[in-house]
């Protein structure tokens, strides 16, 4: 048996895991500050649209870079809307997040049709081609999967250890975790919880926006209404599975990438099963995973808490 289908499966796994990891890493920071942002789904969608606008302003590789900038900005805006109500006004976080996701769905749909026409003809944006690292990408089986990916994937490679170190080993990271666990103790230590939560929420939104930009600029090369397709909610499940740690979240994102990529493997192997089963697989996996880890992992103690 040739290894080619497996290598292709691994390559697709890392590719699908990249936006999930970006969004989940951002949400990890947000939740560590005690804020659960269900509006992450909206931030991803806004980011995808922002990337379309940014990449559309310029062509070529500059367009791709602008696409990522536009995506991050749009994700930031969605998170700012959420933070205005949930962090500043202390409204219910779940309800606010749901409203923000709805708002993103409506606004991106409207703006898309307004700016790019009623037909919604598939607009091609510049994409970032895979960047092969010389030598490493020639490794058998995993070479292409790990080292011939779009630049966004390499950004995740850098972000995971950086966030892990930052949350564990710096004063700022400690302050973040203190706000999420014991806001009253954080106040006593001279930390301002609202500011920390605001910053953490905005950071999570920006990364969610980058995840959306990855979908457009590094993968699809175009925008579609509602293209986030629940990735924000899957990312929240990934955070739970990854136990609110950067390393765990990266591993969990790979698992979900694999579940989504299984369909390619099955096609390559010629196994015939209804393809909707594979489309539903990541969502089913989320349920199974949450059922097996919930209650046995400790979320930040003040997660979702409205009073500081």
């Amino acid at each position: 048996m040739t290894l080619e289908p497996i290598a292709a499966f691994l390559e697709a796994t890392v590719r699908t895991a990249t936006p999930l990891a970006l969004a989940a890493l951002g949400e990890t920071v947000t939740e560590r500050a005690g804020v659960i942002n269900i509006g992450l789904e909206g931030a991803i969608l806004a980011g995808a649209f922002g990337a379309l606008v940014g990449a559309g302003l310029a062509g070529g590789l500059g367009g791709a870079a602008l696409g990522f900038a536009g995506g991050a900005l749009a994700g930031l805006a969605a998170a700012a809307l959420f933070a205005c109500f949930a962090v500043w006004l202390r409204a219910d976080q779940i309800i606010t997040g749901t409203a923000v996701t709805l708002a993103a769905l409506g606004l991106t749909g409207t703006l898309y049709r307004t700016l790019f026409g009623e037909t919604g003809a598939a607009l091609a944006t510049p994409t970032t081609p895979p960047l092969s690292l010389p030598g490493l990408s020639a490794l058998p089986l995993v070479g292409r999967a790990l080292f011939a990916q779009p630049p966004a994937t390499y950004a995740v490679y850098l972000l995971v250890p950086a966030l892990w170190w930052w949350m564990r080993r710096t004063h700022a990271g400690l302050a973040l975790r203190a706000v999420g666990e014991r806001p009253d103790a954080a106040v006593a230590a001279g930390i301002r919880p609202v500011r920390v939560q605001l910053a953490a929420t905005l950071f999570g939104g920006a990364l969610g926006g980058l995840a959306g930009a990855t979908l457009v600029v590094a993968q699809a090369g175009t925008f579609a209404e509602g293209m986030s397709a629940g990735r924000g909610f899957i990312a929240i499940a990934i955070v739970v599975l990854g136990r609110w740690s950067a390393l765990g979240v990266a591993g969990a994102a790979l698992l979900f990438g694999g579940a989504s990529a299984l369909q390619y493997l099955f096609q390559a192997m010629g196994w015939t099963l209804p393809y909707q089963l594979f489309l539903a697989l990541p969502y089913l996996l989320t349920l199974v995973v949450l059922a097996s880890v919930s209650g046995r992992v400790a979320a930040p103690a003040a997660l979702g808490q409205r009073e500081l």
Binding site: F85, L102, L105, L111, E118, Q276, S294
Partner: protein, 360 residues
């Protein structure tokens, strides 16, 4: 009696203002667009009955489902999936069962859809009770599973006999809901939605079970210790009832409007339902009003797109803005910025509005 009317008028005005702002911001002249929307929603008896109220029916039923669950502190955001499950069950019973069921087809399709919705919610209820899975995430995941399951059904076992289109065969006449007003598209499903709102209101307001449900939503700890209420059991029952209502919404849509099952059966009714319930501040009769408002917005949006060239999806943004407006007003009131009116507010929005200490 005056207060709800004023609130309703204020909300409708806010919706129009938000829409006008959004239109102006995206470069459309607001006046002709708003006029087109008004005509499409209320311009004629037919617009009101065949467009607005038909569109409002699934929104009211699904909104009622969300409101009932939220009142018990269950964050069921899976009305979309439960609605699809109900639609699929109704289509199955309506097409395959009609020859043997005869005149019972339509009622049984609705009963089957209701049961299927409760069953779909039951999966999330079980996951919550047995494994402690947050229903906010599980119900959203089940929405996507339901969507793909419907996609499989209409391309597999339930596909129309010619096997060309991804949809079920059309329901025979005997399985369709009769018209409520002859000559219009308004079907008896709308009457069911109105009755449902009244029934839920009576149950919540005047029965012991409704009282327990509200207690659990307002303060589970107090309900358990002072009221000796079995909090998890009450929550589960509310969850199942909520799913049943959402399933009924899907069944009514299939048997009353589309007459077939297909993938795009719901243009996000289950998600809009969350906004419907929140705008009504989880009051069953308020759901009727906010569902009608959103029905009018969405029915009018079609006309606005046709006559003024404004993308219909803009109303989704308006709906979300209205919800944020209500949330913001509640919070500002809780902080004493706005005057606190003597209205009973939603449990989750009220239970936790203890004064927030200013951070030093």
């Amino acid at each position: 009696m005056l207060r709800p009317l004023l609130l309703g008028a204020a909300t409708a005005t806010a919706a129009a203002a938000a829409l006008a702002l959004l239109l102006a911001a995206s470069g459309f002249p607001p006046a002709p667009a708003l006029a087109a929307l008004w005509n499409g929603a209320f311009g004629s008896t037919d617009a009101l009955l065949s467009a607005t109220l038909v569109r409002a029916t699934p929104l009211v039923l699904a909104g009622l489902a969300v409101a009932l669950a939220f009142r018990a502190g269950i964050l069921n955001v899976g009305a979309e999936g439960q609605l699809l499950a109900g639609g699929a069950a109704a289509a199955t019973i309506g097409t395959l069962g009609a020859p043997s069921l005869g005149v019972l087809s339509a009622p049984l399709a609705l009963v089957g859809g209701t049961a299927a919705g409760a069953l779909w919610a039951g999966v999330a209820a079980l996951l919550r009770r047995r494994f402690g899975v947050l229903e906010v995430i599980s119900t959203i995941m089940l929405n996507f599973v339901a969507l793909h399951a419907v996609g499989w059904l209409v391309r597999g076992p339930l596909q129309e006999p010619l096997r060309i289109y991804p949809q079920s065969p059309a329901l025979p006449d005997v399985a369709r809901l009769p018209a409520l007003v002859p000559g219009t598209r308004l079907h008896v499903g709308f009457a069911l939605a109105v009755l449902g709102c009244a029934a839920v209101w009576v149950v919540l307001r005047h029965t012991a079970a409704g009282f327990r449900l509200r207690m659990v939503g307002l303060n589970p700890a107090a309900a358990a210790s002072a009221g000796r209420i079995d909090v998890p059991a009450v929550g589960m029952r509310a969850f199942l009832a909520s799913g049943a209502l959402a399933g009924l919404a899907g069944a009514v849509e299939v048997a009353g409007v589309t007459y077939a099952l297909y993938e795009n059966l719901s243009p996000g009714y289950g998600y809009t339902a969350i906004a419907v319930a929140l705008l009504a501040r989880l009051h069953p009769l308020g759901v009727l009003a906010s569902g009608a408002l959103f029905g009018a917005l969405e029915a009018g949006a079609g006309a606005m797109q046709r006559d003024a060239g404004v993308p219909a999806v803009v109303v989704v943004a308006v709906e979300a803005l209205l919800v944020l407006l209500v949330l913001g007003a509640d919070q500002l009131r809780a902080r004493g910025v706005l005057r606190r009116p003597p209205v009973r507010s939603a449990p989750r929005l009220a239970a936790e509005t203890a004064p927030i200490e200013a951070t030093p």
